[in-house]
Symmetry: C2
Subunit: 158 residues, 2 copies
DNA sequence: TTGAAATAGGACCATTTTGGTTCTGTTTCA
DNA sequence: TGAAACAGAACCAAAATGGTCCTATTTCAA
């Protein structure tokens, strides 16, 4: 389904929430409550985000997490890269040469770059401030994106 | 890793190969050999592609698969949608309302649309003819994108 | 000095996805 | 009528995910 993992989902939710008050120091328990997500999971994600420098952390009592930079400076691509690794849609990319037995004969070969770059670029353009705006205007009609209303092709998977 | 599944990978490889001779009728065994992929898997993917109308199929002896339309008319997004379901990076999209217990309080809510649309658009812009060009020119420097050296590849799409 | 409150970092395991194979039809041509 | 292909589904091992939990370590403040 070309989807991000739930962890990343949580990450974006958490960071978006933090972006609404960019200077505040948030504890994990606070965040868990405010976003209504389970604490252990929130905790785990925050650690990852902090390890990669998207969050600053203060240990000890009165500790917590805060955004390491302005929301505008944190791109969705940063978050995904932190929580899921390099944004490359196929393995032949991040494994380097020599792994794929198709090498040389693969009809696609370098052309994966086209796709990867397109995705990366798209994700680079979106930053936290955009995600955090409290439903800016209903421009983005919520129920209106179903491609031709073609039958739910995921109907069989559950 | 925000990656497509191997099945989709195969699908793109297969279709790209077929795009190099758009009018030819390919049998699954032929394709397996020409792309050096295992036949059972090739077979499986072809069936899916054909079920969704990306390929035409002819049964019986002398049967096979052929592109259902010109390579330029087959977008990467079509292939992904066929092999992985709707292109929506989070579940709150394709499941419709009422599923997410965050509803109403989720700080991101409709803003996922921003991301989903960006991805969809990016993938809409790439068609099979682009993927199939036999390494058009080495513009897209192959060995230069590894995680460490993150070169900004702006200025292409959009 | 000490205890409570936080983060840091793993280990762990059930569940789900995936990758790939195989089997049993059905269709078509020669 | 048989061989060659596609159609469709079942199946299962391996990998990835989602969550939780446990044990440090750090810091503040009484």
């Amino acid at each position: 389904m070309l989807r991000i993992t739930k962890q990343t989902d949580y990450g974006i939710v958490l960071l978006s929430h933090m972006a609404t008050d960019p200077d505040r120091l948030f504890t994990a328990p606070d965040l868990a409550e405010e976003t209504r997500l389970p604490l252990p999971t929130v905790s785990k994600v925050l650690k990852l985000l902090s390890r990669d420098g998207l969050l600053d952390s203060q240990r000890g009592a009165k500790g917590g997490y805060s955004l390491s930079r302005r929301p505008e400076k944190i791109r969705v691509s940063d978050i995904i890269r932190c929580l899921e690794g390099p944004i490359a849609m196929t393995e032949c990319i991040d494994d380097g040469p020599g792994v794929c037995d198709q090498e040389g004969s693969c009809p696609v070969e370098g052309n994966w770059q086209i796709i990867n770059d397109a995705i990366r670029t798209a994700l680079d353009r979106i930053d936290l401030s955009q995600m955090a705006t409290p439903l800016p205007s209903r421009l983005v009609q919520l129920g209106d994106h179903r491609p031709g209303a073609n039958e739910r092709s995921d109907a069989n998977t559950r």
